[in-house]
């Protein structure tokens, strides 16, 4: 039923991705005149949430201007921020609801689209039960929308299955921080980074995925700080590392346990801190007893001397910071990896002080705010546990429902797709999420989507996932609505509506309210504005862990952001957590949690001897729904490539720029080799932003962490073979490499090895 109604080429011709290169009207058009307004808001691409001014003319976003007063990035922007305005006025933009017909997707009225959606949801529920409908949200939605989609699912749709694409981001860190500290937030503001004497960066490609953080790290180095980088690849941030640890994929916990072993062996722990502010140290100490440097080196592939040195630098520093991202979190033991970081920070007393802490680098635009207020399958607003009777009672009161009307925890993102595949879930409402590209094992996802009896998508472009939809509800870009997001450092910031949604497109919260009304819950969804939703969210979060009660749009504007928790109107917010050694658990202590290292879900074997790891490039964002439509960003890195070490390449008979077949236990893809010495010889890397045959997520596997439910994107077992020639997709002219540039004579034209021009 939910197969795409047209061929991929036909869909591409109408809905893109087409490449936008110029502001509206072209470089010499009227939009190049004086801007009517400069709107101070934030970049939509990534959890740094950089301040940016959007240039607006006649209700069109026509360019940008740096916002130098915003303290986090002080005008700095990565290429995605610079070019983000090209997603506006885009030819692919959905301007009205779409209905699947035999002739493809056709525009329809909101009334037709919404009444169909409500009717089909109820029909499926009457036939198969309430929980046969699932809802997917997204971490690019403002916090108001993330809050409201959680309420929509639980109150109006009445399903327990609501989860979101943040499940593919930092949830392993979230679970670990909750276990250890009782709260899911990076404990330190970014301004602490330059104050540290040692910064250890674990599995975080900061230069490409959190580019603005680079300056903070370099400032630490300017002040005499030492930089340690642990990663199977040398990413750009490695160029100034004082110590590089080339950890084997899947061995992060072992590396950190080895470091803790050395810290304890050499008595570098902070006994006073451990005794006064923590529980469970002895068990953790026992758990690392066998991880001597030689044993750890054998597991991790990191030299014993380097492990000793890293442990000594971290343990001897008065102020040390450990920063981590998806590299250690995207594992079936992602929670363990993060706990191992926390144990090291706690044992050395590096927490709750300026320049001392452990910090997760949340990746998605509203990755932090989007997970705090109720679109996670197991949480209610304010980071409350959905199983906690007191939490249910509080939220039920705000929602004006009975506590028992709020469903219990449902499935996580991957589990929802599994349940669709096995026929347990029959209908899906999906907002701002492109699971066909971003979930692991894409062929499985494709099969699942084609089994849905009803599928509604809410989005602003027709993503590859939306090709399978029965109805597509045209939503809004970030700059087309007001609201808040929360950045990676826990700073709640104000997103301004720069322009209204174009055509008949609607703000998502209006779509949710309309749907709720048609599902018979109009009186519980009576918001006139985002602000009204935020005011309810403040109440819903009040007294919770992520307490927003004291935050207002005005306070955010005045302070240039408010760090939560902010429990009262006269409270300035909390930039740094755990000061004075006070943690969020009822006992006020931090909890050491012992780590047991264990194998991953897709182990290497004789047949699949190579580690395949995946990640991002600087010019693309997540599944590329937006950034694969922005011409200059596509030109910068037009298609996925295989990073491979010359030793491995030589052994496989592969030369630079050869086409290579990469095969895992799921599928094969053909991709061009880039032979570089900056990756371990037992590991290859492919970035994941592309769809169809260019999607490396066809190769990844669905194993998830049992606690965080995050997929293991960072380790798959693979084998390689030189391909006879380019795959069909490389010959069909949609590779994205542009021929529009004028011929240029000069240094740049002659530069060898330039990215984007293989």
């Amino acid at each position: 039923m939910s197969e795409p109604p047209l061929s991929p080429d036909e869909l591409r011709a109408r809905f893109g991705p087409n490449l936008n290169y110029t502001p509206p009207g072209g470089w010499r058009g009227p939009s190049r005149g004086v801007a009517t307004r400069l709107v101070k808001t934030h970049c939509c691409f990534c959890g740094q949430q950089c301040g940016i001014q959007l240039k607006v003319q006649d209700d069109k976003v026509v360019g940008f201007e740096p916002w130098e007063e915003f303290p986090f990035n002080r005008g700095m922007l990565c290429p995605k921020g610079v070019r983000r305005y090209l997603q506006d006025n885009h030819p692919d933009r959905l301007l009205a609801p779409l209905l699947r017909t035999e002739r493809g997707f056709e525009e329809t009225t909101w009334d037709t689209a919404m009444s169909l959606t409500a009717r089909r949801i109820r029909e499926v529920q009457e036939k198969y039960g309430k929980d046969a409908v699932a809802v997917y949200g997204g971490a690019s939605l403002t916090t108001e929308k993330a809050y409201l989609i959680g309420k929509l699912a639980r109150v109006a749709v009445g399903t327990r299955h609501i989860d979101y694409n943040g499940r593919l981001c930092m949830v392993s860190a979230g679970v670990a921080y909750k276990l250890a500290f009782g709260v899911d937030r990076s404990p330190n503001p970014w301004s602490d980074i330059p104050r540290a004497q040692v910064v250890m960066i674990l599995g975080a490609n900061i230069g490409e995925c959190a580019p603005i953080t680079t300056d903070y790290v370099w400032r630490c180095r300017d002040a005499g700080g030492k930089i340690i980088v642990a990663d199977p690849r040398m990413t750009p941030i490695t160029r100034n590392a004082d110590l590089y640890l080339p950890v084997r994929p899947g061995c992060d916990a072992a590396l950190l346990m080895g470091m803790l072993h050395v810290v304890l062996r050499d008595k570098l722990e902070d006994r006073a801190f451990i005794d006064a502010h923590t529980l469970g140290f002895d068990e953790v100490a026992a758990s690392v007893a066998s991880y001597d440097p030689l044993t750890t080196a054998r597991i991790t592939g990191v030299p014993p001397e380097a492990i000793e040195k890293a442990a000594h630098w971290f343990g001897e520093a008065e102020r040390a910071i450990a920063m981590h991202a998806r590299g250690i979190e995207h594992h079936s033991k992602g929670v363990e990896n993060c706990l191992a970081v926390i144990n090291l920070a706690l044992a050395t007393g590096n927490i709750g002080r300026e320049g001392a802490g452990c910090m997760m680098i949340t990746g998605q635009g509203n990755g932090q705010g989007g997970r705090e207020h109720g679109q996670k399958c197991d949480q209610l607003p304010g980071q409350r546990q959905i199983s906690d009777p007191a939490a249910r009672e509080h939220v039920a009161r705000v929602w004006r429902v009975a506590p028992e009307e709020i469903p219990q925890a449902g499935y996580s993102a991957v589990e929802i797709m599994n349940a669709i595949h096995r026929g347990e879930i029959k209908a899906l409402v999906c907002a701002c999420f492109n699971p066909l590209v971003s979930l692991p094992d894409a062929e499985f996802t494709r099969e699942a989507l084609s089994k849905l009896e009803f599928f509604a998508v809410i989005d602003f472009f027709l993503s590859e996932t939306a090709h399978h939809a029965d109805v597509v509800l045209a939503g809004s870009l970030q700059e087309e609505d007001e609201g808040v997001t929360c950045s990676a450092e826990g700073r709640v910031i104000h997103i301004q509506e720069a322009v209204p949604p174009p055509g008949q497109a609607r703000r998502e919260w209006q779509i949710y309210c309309d749907l709720a009304a048609r599902l018979g819950q109009a009186e519980r969804f009576t918001y006139a504005s985002s602000r009204a939703i935020f005011d309810e969210l403040r109440e819903a979060s009040r007294g919770g862990i992520a307490d927003y009660y004291g935050i207002s749009y005005e306070k955010i504007d005045q302070q240039l952001g408010v760090f939560w928790p902010c429990p009262s109107e006269d409270h300035p917010g909390t930039p740094r957590l755990f000061e004075g050694g006070r943690f969020f658990h009822a006992d006020g202590k931090a909890h050491f949690v012992p780590v047991v290292d264990r194998p991953g879900g897709d182990p290497v074997s004789d047949e699949f001897p190579i580690y395949l790891t995946t990640g991002r490039v600087v010019s693309q964002y997540l599944s590329g729904t937006q950034t694969r439509r922005i011409g200059p960003l596509v030109d910068q890195y037009p298609e996925p490539r295989l990073e491979i070490h010359p030793q491995l390449a030589e052994a496989q008979g592969i030369s630079d720029a050869d086409w290579v077949e990469v095969t895992t236990r799921r599928a094969t893809m053909t991709v061009r080799a880039q032979v570089v010495r900056t990756i371990r010889p037992d590991t290859v890397f492919i970035p994941y932003h592309w769809a169809g045959k260019r999607s490396v997520n066809r190769l990844t596997h669905r194993t998830i962490d049992p606690r965080s439910k995050i997929p293991e994107f960072k380790v798959s077992a693979a084998r390689l073979a030189r391909a006879a020639g380019p795959p069909p997709w490389a010959r069909d002219g949609t590779g994205g490499a542009s021929a529009r540039h004028l011929p240029v004579v000069g240094a740049a034209a002659a530069a060898p090895g330039r990215q984007g021009a293989p």
């Binding site: 990035n73 700095m76 580019p211 300056d215 941030i237 010495r677 240094a747 090895g753």
Partner: protein, 193 residues
């Protein structure tokens, strides 16, 4: 706002993100085409990249070799793109520049290059590339600030053999380096005896 501020390049900070190129291309005067560039130094062996803007030589070689006298310096010492009515697109400047900066746009039949965002600096704004640069490999700040914050020091004297080039833009170099010697001969005992 920009009085007293200077341009500093520190290639060791560069992460190769091309934010500078993208931002440069947004300029209203060259519309979609960057006048600066980022290069991998040796991608097969390293992730190191380096950004390059015009160094704005005190006595610019590009202008010296221009047969059409099309390249001018303004009163602040900024070396400008070629004058469109004068430029004959001969590429002499492209070949002569010791830093490899000018580009000849063949379709426009004109050499264009970084003019340190004259449109912005002349109205008190910082150059676009240095404003957005996430690693501050490109920085437009006061010399005091650079001296206070960085562990490297600015150098604006470059010796290409016998030829000394002094520039408006500074390159960050290890402490103790006062001029960058480009010619290997400068480091040889025989040559200096």
């Amino acid at each position: 706002m920009t009085a007293g501020l200077q341009f500093f390049i520190d290639p060791s900070r560069c992460i190769g993100c091309r934010s500078c190129e993208n931002a440069c291309a947004e300029c209203e005067t060259h519309r979609g085409f960057p006048m600066i560039h980022v290069d991998y130094i040796d991608r097969p062996n390293s992730i190191a990249t380096t950004p390059m803007v015009c160094m704005h030589c005190e006595n610019p070689t590009c202008a010296q070799v221009c047969p059409a006298d099309a390249i001018k310096q303004n009163e602040e010492g900024v070396v400008l793109s070629s004058l469109k009515p004068r430029c004959i697109a001969c590429s002499n400047c492209v070949l002569a520049c010791p830093f490899g900066v000018p580009k000849m746009l063949t379709a426009l039949e004109q050499m264009m290059k970084c003019d340190m965002c004259y449109d912005r600096t002349s109205i008190g704004k910082r150059p676009m590339c240095a404003t957005v640069c996430p690693s501050q490999a490109l920085a437009f700040v006061s010399p005091d600030e650079i001296a206070r914050q960085r562990r490297e020091v600015p150098v604006n004297t470059f010796r290409f053999g016998a030829e000394e080039v002094r520039t408006k833009v500074s390159m960050m170099a290890p402490r103790g380096v006062e001029a960058v010697e480009i010619d290997v001969v400068d480091y040889m005992w025989e040559a200096s005896s």
